[in-house]
Protein backbone atom coordinates (compact mmCIF):
# COMPACT_ATOMS: atom_id res chain seq x y z
CA UNK A 1 0.00 0.00 0.00
CA UNK A 2 2.86 2.28 0.74
CA UNK A 3 4.22 1.87 -2.78
CA UNK A 4 0.81 2.50 -4.26
CA UNK A 5 0.43 5.76 -2.38
CA UNK A 6 3.81 6.94 -3.49
CA UNK A 7 2.97 6.18 -7.08
CA UNK A 8 -0.43 7.76 -6.82
CA UNK A 9 0.83 10.89 -5.13
CA UNK A 10 3.46 11.47 -7.81
CA UNK A 11 0.85 11.89 -10.48
CA UNK A 12 -1.00 14.92 -9.05
CA UNK A 13 2.33 16.63 -8.28
CA UNK A 14 3.46 16.10 -11.86
CA UNK A 15 0.19 17.39 -13.23
CA UNK A 16 0.35 20.37 -10.88
CA UNK A 17 3.80 21.25 -12.12
CA UNK A 18 2.59 21.08 -15.68
CA UNK A 19 -0.35 23.39 -15.09
CA UNK A 20 1.79 25.79 -13.05
CA UNK A 21 4.30 26.21 -15.87
CA UNK A 22 1.47 26.70 -18.33
CA UNK A 23 0.00 29.41 -16.13
CA UNK A 24 3.38 31.19 -15.88
CA UNK A 25 3.57 31.70 -19.61
CA UNK A 26 -0.16 32.08 -20.23
CA UNK A 27 0.39 35.56 -21.68
CA UNK A 28 1.46 34.12 -24.99
CA UNK A 29 1.47 30.34 -24.57
CA UNK A 30 -1.97 29.28 -25.63
CA UNK A 31 -3.64 25.95 -25.04
CA UNK A 32 -1.69 22.91 -26.08
CA UNK A 33 1.16 24.44 -28.06
CA UNK A 34 4.72 23.98 -26.87
CA UNK A 35 5.83 27.20 -28.57
CA UNK A 36 4.30 30.64 -29.00
CA UNK A 37 5.20 33.52 -31.32
CA UNK A 38 4.21 37.16 -31.44
CA UNK A 39 5.03 39.80 -34.04
CA UNK A 40 6.83 42.83 -32.63
CA UNK A 41 7.58 44.75 -35.84
CA UNK A 42 6.59 44.73 -39.50
CA UNK A 43 9.03 44.54 -42.39
CA UNK A 44 9.39 47.97 -43.94
CA UNK A 45 11.51 49.01 -46.90
CA UNK A 46 10.90 52.74 -46.29
CA UNK A 47 10.73 55.12 -49.24
CA UNK A 48 12.37 54.35 -52.57
CA UNK A 49 12.62 56.09 -55.91
CA UNK A 50 12.09 54.02 -59.03
CA UNK A 51 14.04 55.02 -62.12
CA UNK A 52 14.28 53.87 -65.71
CA UNK A 53 16.17 50.76 -64.65
CA UNK A 54 14.97 48.00 -62.37
CA UNK A 55 16.65 47.14 -59.09
CA UNK A 56 16.25 45.77 -55.61
CA UNK A 57 16.18 46.91 -52.03
CA UNK A 58 17.44 44.57 -49.32
CA UNK A 59 16.80 44.77 -45.59
CA UNK A 60 19.51 43.10 -43.51
CA UNK A 61 17.97 41.35 -40.49
CA UNK A 62 21.22 41.49 -38.53
CA UNK A 63 22.04 45.19 -38.89
CA UNK A 64 18.61 46.57 -39.80
CA UNK A 65 20.34 48.33 -42.68
CA UNK A 66 18.98 48.87 -46.17
CA UNK A 67 20.92 48.53 -49.40
CA UNK A 68 19.72 49.27 -52.93
CA UNK A 69 20.94 47.88 -56.23
CA UNK A 70 20.35 48.67 -59.88
CA UNK A 71 18.37 51.79 -60.67
CA UNK A 72 16.65 52.04 -57.29
CA UNK A 73 17.44 55.13 -55.23
CA UNK A 74 17.00 55.11 -51.45
CA UNK A 75 14.83 58.03 -50.32
CA UNK A 76 14.69 57.82 -46.55
CA UNK A 77 11.58 56.71 -44.76
CA UNK A 78 11.39 54.34 -41.82
CA UNK A 79 12.86 51.02 -42.91
CA UNK A 80 13.26 48.05 -40.58
CA UNK A 81 13.31 44.27 -40.52
CA UNK A 82 10.31 42.39 -39.18
CA UNK A 83 10.63 41.30 -35.56
CA UNK A 84 9.15 38.40 -33.63
CA UNK A 85 9.26 37.14 -30.05
CA UNK A 86 9.20 33.44 -29.31
CA UNK A 87 8.33 31.81 -26.02
CA UNK A 88 8.70 28.10 -25.35
CA UNK A 89 5.84 26.61 -23.38
CA UNK A 90 6.06 23.88 -20.83
CA UNK A 91 9.18 22.79 -19.06
CA UNK A 92 9.93 19.65 -21.07
CA UNK A 93 12.01 19.19 -24.17
CA UNK A 94 15.05 20.84 -25.66
CA UNK A 95 14.84 24.59 -25.39
CA UNK A 96 15.55 25.63 -28.93
CA UNK A 97 13.55 26.28 -32.08
CA UNK A 98 13.88 26.76 -35.83
CA UNK A 99 12.37 29.51 -37.94
CA UNK A 100 10.74 28.58 -41.23
CA UNK A 101 10.61 31.52 -43.65
CA UNK A 102 8.46 31.88 -46.79
CA UNK A 103 10.03 29.84 -49.58
CA UNK A 104 8.17 31.58 -52.41
CA UNK A 105 7.81 35.22 -53.33
CA UNK A 106 5.24 37.45 -51.64
CA UNK A 107 3.37 39.92 -53.84
CA UNK A 108 2.88 43.51 -52.67
CA UNK A 109 -0.02 45.53 -54.04
CA UNK A 110 0.28 49.24 -54.61
CA UNK A 111 -2.18 52.00 -53.76
CA UNK A 112 -1.76 53.37 -57.27
CA UNK A 113 -1.98 50.01 -58.98
CA UNK A 114 0.97 47.82 -59.78
CA UNK A 115 2.63 45.05 -57.86
CA UNK A 116 6.09 44.17 -56.59
CA UNK A 117 7.52 40.96 -55.23
CA UNK A 118 9.48 40.25 -52.09
CA UNK A 119 11.62 37.14 -51.81
CA UNK A 120 14.88 35.80 -50.38
CA UNK A 121 13.73 36.12 -46.78
CA UNK A 122 16.58 36.02 -44.29
CA UNK A 123 16.67 35.73 -40.52
CA UNK A 124 18.86 36.67 -37.60
CA UNK A 125 20.01 34.71 -35.68
CA UNK A 126 20.35 31.57 -37.77
CA UNK A 127 18.68 28.26 -36.87
CA UNK A 128 18.71 26.65 -34.35
CA UNK A 129 17.84 29.44 -31.92
CA UNK A 130 18.07 28.86 -28.19
CA UNK A 131 14.78 29.69 -26.52
CA UNK A 132 13.40 30.13 -23.06
CA UNK A 133 10.20 29.34 -21.22
CA UNK A 134 10.39 32.55 -19.21
CA UNK A 135 11.93 35.30 -21.36
CA UNK A 136 10.77 35.83 -24.97
CA UNK A 137 13.53 35.24 -27.52
CA UNK A 138 13.56 37.79 -30.36
CA UNK A 139 14.52 37.19 -33.96
CA UNK A 140 14.37 39.44 -37.01
CA UNK A 141 13.51 38.85 -40.66
CA UNK A 142 14.73 40.74 -43.71
CA UNK A 143 14.08 40.20 -47.42
CA UNK A 144 14.70 41.43 -50.95
CA UNK A 145 12.23 43.74 -52.69
CA UNK A 146 12.19 43.81 -56.49
CA UNK A 147 11.38 47.18 -58.04
CA UNK A 148 10.61 47.31 -61.74
CA UNK A 149 11.82 50.03 -64.07
CA UNK A 150 9.52 53.05 -63.63
CA UNK A 151 7.59 51.24 -60.89
CA UNK A 152 4.24 52.95 -60.31
CA UNK A 153 4.36 55.33 -57.38
CA UNK A 154 2.32 54.58 -54.29
CA UNK A 155 2.24 52.77 -50.99
CA UNK A 156 2.66 49.03 -51.37
CA UNK A 157 1.71 46.42 -48.81
CA UNK A 158 1.59 42.68 -48.37
CA UNK A 159 1.66 40.01 -45.69
CA UNK A 160 4.00 37.14 -45.04
CA UNK A 161 3.97 34.32 -42.49
CA UNK A 162 6.74 32.71 -40.51
CA UNK A 163 6.56 29.43 -38.66
CA UNK A 164 8.60 28.56 -35.60
CA UNK A 165 9.06 24.88 -34.83
CA UNK A 166 10.37 23.61 -31.56
CA UNK A 167 13.32 21.27 -31.92
Amino acid sequence: MNDLWKAASRIPVGAGAFFLSAACVAQTCGGSSSIAIARTADLNFGSLIATASAGTAVIDPATGGRTVTGGVVAAGGAFAPAGFDVLLCGSGGIKRFDVVLPSSAITLTGSGGGTMTVDTFTQNPANHINGSTTVPTPFTVGATLHIAASQTQGTYSGVFSVTVARQ
Binding site: I37, F84, V141, A143, Q153, S161, V164, R166
Partner: protein, 158 residues
Protein backbone atom coordinates in the same frame (compact mmCIF):
# COMPACT_ATOMS: atom_id res chain seq x y z
CA UNK B 1 1.04 -9.13 -1.27
CA UNK B 2 2.17 -10.51 -4.60
CA UNK B 3 -1.28 -10.07 -6.01
CA UNK B 4 -1.43 -6.49 -4.75
CA UNK B 5 1.98 -5.73 -6.29
CA UNK B 6 0.88 -7.18 -9.60
CA UNK B 7 -2.23 -5.00 -9.57
CA UNK B 8 -0.11 -2.02 -8.65
CA UNK B 9 2.22 -2.57 -11.61
CA UNK B 10 -0.70 -2.97 -13.94
CA UNK B 11 -2.17 0.27 -12.59
CA UNK B 12 1.07 2.18 -13.19
CA UNK B 13 1.35 0.69 -16.67
CA UNK B 14 -2.18 1.81 -17.44
CA UNK B 15 -1.40 5.30 -16.18
CA UNK B 16 1.73 5.39 -18.31
CA UNK B 17 -0.25 4.29 -21.32
CA UNK B 18 -2.71 7.09 -20.65
CA UNK B 19 -0.02 9.70 -20.12
CA UNK B 20 2.19 9.01 -23.12
CA UNK B 21 -0.20 9.65 -26.01
CA UNK B 22 -1.47 12.90 -24.52
CA UNK B 23 1.37 15.23 -25.55
CA UNK B 24 1.78 13.46 -28.88
CA UNK B 25 -1.83 13.99 -29.80
CA UNK B 26 -2.76 17.31 -28.28
CA UNK B 27 0.48 19.26 -28.18
CA UNK B 28 1.65 21.31 -31.19
CA UNK B 29 5.33 22.00 -31.57
CA UNK B 30 5.07 24.85 -34.03
CA UNK B 31 3.37 28.23 -34.20
CA UNK B 32 2.77 30.80 -36.93
CA UNK B 33 2.81 34.56 -37.00
CA UNK B 34 2.06 37.07 -39.73
CA UNK B 35 3.74 40.39 -40.40
CA UNK B 36 3.07 43.11 -42.91
CA UNK B 37 5.50 44.29 -45.56
CA UNK B 38 5.38 47.96 -46.47
CA UNK B 39 7.21 50.25 -48.88
CA UNK B 40 6.55 53.57 -50.56
CA UNK B 41 7.65 54.26 -54.11
CA UNK B 42 8.03 58.02 -54.32
CA UNK B 43 8.73 60.32 -57.20
CA UNK B 44 12.36 61.03 -57.63
CA UNK B 45 14.33 63.86 -59.05
CA UNK B 46 14.38 63.53 -62.80
CA UNK B 47 15.08 65.47 -65.96
CA UNK B 48 13.33 64.72 -69.22
CA UNK B 49 13.75 66.34 -72.59
CA UNK B 50 10.55 67.74 -74.06
CA UNK B 51 12.03 69.61 -77.04
CA UNK B 52 15.27 69.51 -79.00
CA UNK B 53 17.38 72.53 -79.69
CA UNK B 54 16.68 73.26 -83.37
CA UNK B 55 18.48 76.06 -85.17
CA UNK B 56 16.44 75.84 -88.35
CA UNK B 57 17.21 76.14 -92.04
CA UNK B 58 20.09 78.43 -92.98
CA UNK B 59 21.04 79.65 -96.42
CA UNK B 60 24.52 78.68 -97.68
CA UNK B 61 27.09 81.10 -99.06
CA UNK B 62 26.46 83.79 -96.47
CA UNK B 63 30.00 83.78 -95.06
CA UNK B 64 31.08 82.67 -91.62
CA UNK B 65 28.46 83.34 -88.99
CA UNK B 66 27.62 82.70 -85.37
CA UNK B 67 23.95 81.84 -85.11
CA UNK B 68 22.59 82.50 -81.68
CA UNK B 69 19.68 80.65 -80.08
CA UNK B 70 18.78 82.89 -77.17
CA UNK B 71 16.69 81.74 -74.22
CA UNK B 72 13.71 83.71 -75.48
CA UNK B 73 13.73 81.85 -78.80
CA UNK B 74 11.28 79.11 -79.59
CA UNK B 75 14.24 77.06 -80.88
CA UNK B 76 15.66 76.39 -77.41
CA UNK B 77 15.89 72.93 -75.97
CA UNK B 78 13.34 72.30 -73.23
CA UNK B 79 13.57 69.91 -70.30
CA UNK B 80 11.15 69.05 -67.52
CA UNK B 81 12.89 68.84 -64.17
CA UNK B 82 10.75 67.04 -61.60
CA UNK B 83 11.51 66.98 -57.91
CA UNK B 84 9.88 65.14 -55.08
CA UNK B 85 6.29 66.29 -54.73
CA UNK B 86 5.40 68.83 -52.12
CA UNK B 87 8.39 71.11 -51.97
CA UNK B 88 10.83 73.24 -53.84
CA UNK B 89 13.88 71.35 -55.03
CA UNK B 90 17.10 73.31 -55.27
CA UNK B 91 19.32 72.02 -58.03
CA UNK B 92 22.22 73.01 -60.21
CA UNK B 93 22.48 72.69 -63.97
CA UNK B 94 25.66 71.62 -65.75
CA UNK B 95 25.98 72.30 -69.49
CA UNK B 96 28.69 71.31 -71.98
CA UNK B 97 31.16 74.00 -72.98
CA UNK B 98 31.04 72.99 -76.63
CA UNK B 99 30.00 70.15 -78.90
CA UNK B 100 30.30 69.40 -82.57
CA UNK B 101 27.42 68.50 -84.82
CA UNK B 102 27.91 66.41 -87.90
CA UNK B 103 26.43 66.42 -91.37
CA UNK B 104 24.28 63.34 -91.98
CA UNK B 105 25.93 61.19 -94.62
CA UNK B 106 29.37 62.76 -94.47
CA UNK B 107 31.94 63.98 -91.99
CA UNK B 108 31.56 67.78 -92.10
CA UNK B 109 31.07 69.36 -88.72
CA UNK B 110 29.98 72.57 -87.07
CA UNK B 111 30.74 73.72 -83.56
CA UNK B 112 28.10 74.62 -81.01
CA UNK B 113 29.10 76.47 -77.87
CA UNK B 114 27.86 79.23 -75.63
CA UNK B 115 25.38 76.95 -73.90
CA UNK B 116 23.18 78.85 -71.47
CA UNK B 117 20.14 77.90 -69.43
CA UNK B 118 17.18 79.36 -67.65
CA UNK B 119 14.81 77.72 -65.18
CA UNK B 120 11.19 78.54 -64.58
CA UNK B 121 8.78 76.94 -62.15
CA UNK B 122 5.64 75.61 -63.76
CA UNK B 123 3.73 74.38 -60.76
CA UNK B 124 4.31 75.22 -57.11
CA UNK B 125 7.51 73.74 -55.96
CA UNK B 126 8.25 70.61 -57.79
CA UNK B 127 8.10 70.85 -61.60
CA UNK B 128 10.44 73.13 -63.50
CA UNK B 129 11.03 73.93 -67.13
CA UNK B 130 14.68 74.16 -68.03
CA UNK B 131 15.44 76.06 -71.25
CA UNK B 132 18.81 75.66 -72.95
CA UNK B 133 20.12 77.90 -75.71
CA UNK B 134 23.47 77.89 -77.54
CA UNK B 135 25.47 79.41 -80.36
CA UNK B 136 26.09 77.65 -83.69
CA UNK B 137 29.23 78.48 -85.67
CA UNK B 138 28.81 78.21 -89.44
CA UNK B 139 31.86 78.23 -91.73
CA UNK B 140 32.01 80.48 -94.77
CA UNK B 141 32.00 77.48 -97.06
CA UNK B 142 29.87 75.19 -94.90
CA UNK B 143 28.49 72.36 -97.00
CA UNK B 144 24.71 72.28 -97.35
CA UNK B 145 23.01 69.45 -95.55
CA UNK B 146 21.43 68.21 -92.36
CA UNK B 147 23.63 68.54 -89.27
CA UNK B 148 22.83 66.85 -85.99
CA UNK B 149 24.56 66.33 -82.67
CA UNK B 150 23.84 65.52 -79.07
CA UNK B 151 24.52 67.37 -75.87
CA UNK B 152 23.97 66.33 -72.29
CA UNK B 153 22.44 68.41 -69.53
CA UNK B 154 23.08 67.29 -65.98
CA UNK B 155 20.88 68.48 -63.15
CA UNK B 156 22.12 67.87 -59.65
CA UNK B 157 19.72 67.98 -56.72
CA UNK B 158 21.21 69.87 -53.80
Amino acid sequence: VNALRAWHLAFVAALAALAVPRPAVAQFDSADARASIGVSIVSGFSVRKTQDLFVGALPTGQGAAAIDVPIGSSSVARFNVTGQAGGAVPFTVALPSSITIQRIGSGETMAVDGFRSSVSSESPGSVYTLLVGATLHVDANQRAGHYVGTFTVTVNQL
